[in-house]
């Protein structure tokens, strides 16, 4: 059954919560194709020791395994924080049609810093921000507050 963008973002927030519990920067993502969740992921850079283990890449990897291709035409991705340039280009280059994100990342977000989705780097990706923005930001603030206490 088709969900609203907020309902899908709630699933991405569940992934962010898993990252939080694993002491990873709490960002989560899901990939949806034809109203079905085909990939889930959360940031696990510390546990994998890989720079690419961002939530979006983890979700994209799971989705690609599921459908057997790096081309995710017509898929949508939901991510709790505005993606960095690495993840943004992975979204463009896997031919996804739409990106929904929660809170902005003014320091390294590729929408805010580079307007990357309007640079003719590949197929057009529609971008929709500020979905469950407050919750997406709150879990990040909670994580970094905890970290400063330690």
């Amino acid at each position: 059954m088709k969900k609203t963008p907020e309902e899908y973002m709630r699933l991405a927030l569940d992934e962010a919560e898993l990252a939080y519990q694993e002491n990873e920067v709490p960002i989560g993502a899901i990939v949806v194709l034809n109203d079905e969740v085909i990939g889930r992921g959360h940031n696990k850079r510390e546990s994998t020791s890989l720079v690419t283990s961002h939530a979006e890449i983890e979700a994209i990897k799971e989705a690609s395994k599921k459908i057997g291709s790096w081309k995710l035409d017509n898929a949508e991705i939901y991510v709790t924080i505005e993606p960095c340039p690495m993840c943004s280009y992975a979204i463009i280059d896997s031919h996804m049609k739409k990106l929904y994100y929660g809170a902005k990342d003014l320091k390294r977000g590729a929408v805010s810093k580079l307007d990357i989705f309007n640079q003719n780097l590949g197929k057009k990706v529609l971008v929709c921000g500020n979905i469950l923005e407050e919750e997406s930001r709150e879990i990040m603030e909670r994580f970094f507050k905890d970290l400063r206490k330690k």
Copy 2:
């Protein structure tokens, strides 16, 4: 023993040749730390079905496994073709100090299209282009010429 940039790029070209033999877009990369090659990679997107399987990411993954961290401070990366935004940000975010590339990619290269290494997205990466540029371009042209014949 310390090699010249051209000698290191020759190793990246060896990786590109492996990709060529595997019917993958022939791009190769190596990661060097303290004059030692700690990662090698070539494009294998078709065989892995993963959008992230660019040469640079494969080389970075191998390097990170070798040193047990996603932080590759002071490492250098050599890649036969100017990196895309995904790989460029992986280079920035893994704290590498220098990028050497062979031929430009005017369509989706992140140096040419976004000037990505001068956008204050993280630590400063020095960039040096046109190392064995002709050989790096020639193997790409050969690949796409073969492809059109098929």
